[in-house]
Structure formats: C-alpha cells, structure tokens
Symmetry: C2
Subunit: 147 residues, 2 copies
C-alpha cells in the first residue's frame, strides 16, 4: 500500500516550481516517484541552461532514467505542475511513463489541444491537482515580467 | 552567398547516423549549420545514455544553443537523416528553428502524421534529401537486430 497521496507528491512538484520562480525561470516543477519514493526532482531551467529543451519534465525524465539505470519509466509516476507541451508529451511517450499527473491546464501549449492521443497507451493521466496554486505562481511570474 | 549545398550538410548528418550505427544505436544523425559552419553534430544516443530524450535533434539543439550562447536558433538550419518525432518537433518549435531539412520520412513516429502544424510558423521545411541512404542504414540496423 502506498503511504502518500497524489496531492502530497504534487506539493513536492510545486516546491520545485517555487524554486524556478525564485530563480527567474517560468515556474514549472516536476517530481518522479516510484514505489513511494522520489527519484527525480526538477524545475524549468531554460534560462539558466540557455536551452529550450530544459523543461522540468525533460530534466526529470533524464534524471529518473539515470537513477533507475533504465530507459523505460513504466513503473513511475510523473507529477508536474503544468500540462506538458508537445515536446514533453513526446518524451513521456518514449519513456512509456506509468502515470502522468499534471496540475493546471495549458490551453495554448499543452499537448491535449491535439485531438490525437500523443501519450503511450499504457500511461494513466490525471489533471487538476493543485491547479490553482500552479496557476497563481505562473500568473505572478508573468505579472512581474510585465512590470 | 553560401558555399555548400543542403546535400553537403545532409551528408554530414549521415556521417553522424553512421557513427550511431557503429555504436549499436538506432542510426539517426543531425548537424546544425549557421552561416556555412557546423555548430553542432549529434547522433542518437538513447542506449549509451539510457535516456529516451537523447535523440539526435535534442542533443544537437542543446549543443547549438551552448555554442551560440542563445536559446533561439532562428538563424540555424537543422539537417537530420530521419523525420523528427513529436518530441523533437516540439523542441524545434521552442527553438524557433530557421530551417528543418530531414531525409527519410517516418510514417509511424514522424511529426507530420499530426495534421496540425507543430513547427514554428517561421521554420522552413524540406524533406527527402539522401532519403534512400538514411532508410538503407535504418533497415540494415533493424535487420541486424532481428538476426
């Protein structure tokens, strides 16, 4: 039996998003969990690394594969504060991710605006966990940027 | 005026694919060119790095951004031997890539099976350069794998 709820893990992802916020990055955070243990934590670092591919999910998937010594993450759960973009959904597909939990929706850049199913058929998906907290952080970031 | 043709650069990408082949990786290679100069060379390293995100295009985009010290590659041309997957097309979108030239089509995993335009509106695309050479290398790889 698992001791922690999905919400518990999403709070951990939100903590990563808060680090991104503090560092002037678009605040998106992610954790990857396997059998009640976090094996990867990451936040968006596109500015710091000067690399558009350094989204939280990509960094988390690379770190999780490194931690497990395995390319496929079918036993893993990814918690990410914002709906993944197409690039990150594509990475989830290749990783054969077990579960994807995302917080707030991203109507402009989220993968679900494409009607075709882009994820692996085995990947279970949930959305909306701590969505308001995630959205508030993003809105505060973009408000700061405009000012 | 540019001294080299698109075919010249695609041969350079094919050389990268051949290195992948020799190393037991699915043979896909890429180069990124800016103003007649290669600033990144990469080949698929998903096996060696145990990382599904280590496609040739992702590694090349990361390397090119590092070489330029810039996140956006709107002055750059990416030559890749196989049609990019959704993950890599998403990375090309974020990078605001100037030109994408790919060799052989990938009807199963290529980004163009999605009817919506996934690339950046500014990205110019061509396909088919050295497609047979790219396909032959991929077919030889999968034939070896089966035997």
């Amino acid at each position: 039996m698992e001791r922690y709820s999905d919400e518990y893990w999403m709070y951990e992802a939100l903590k990563q998003a808060e680090i991104a916020f503090e560092e002037g990055e678009i605040p998106v955070g992610a954790v990857i969990v396997v059998r009640d243990r976090i094996i990867a934590r990451a936040y968006n670092q596109t500015e710091k690394l000067t690399d558009v591919t350094a989204h939280a999910e990509i960094l988390a998937i690379t770190a999780a594969s490194n931690a497990l010594g395995a390319k496929y993450l079918s036993e893993c759960k990814l918690y990410v504060t914002l709906e993944p973009c197409l690039m990150c959904a594509g990475a989830c597909f290749w990783a054969q991710l077990g579960e994807l939990h995302y917080g707030s929706a991203d109507p402009h850049r989220g993968y679900s605006r494409i009607p075709q199913s882009l994820l692996h058929p085995k990947t279970k998906v949930s959305s909306g966990l701590l969505a308001d907290e995630s959205k508030n952080l993003l809105q505060a970031f973009f408000k700061n940027l405009r000012n």
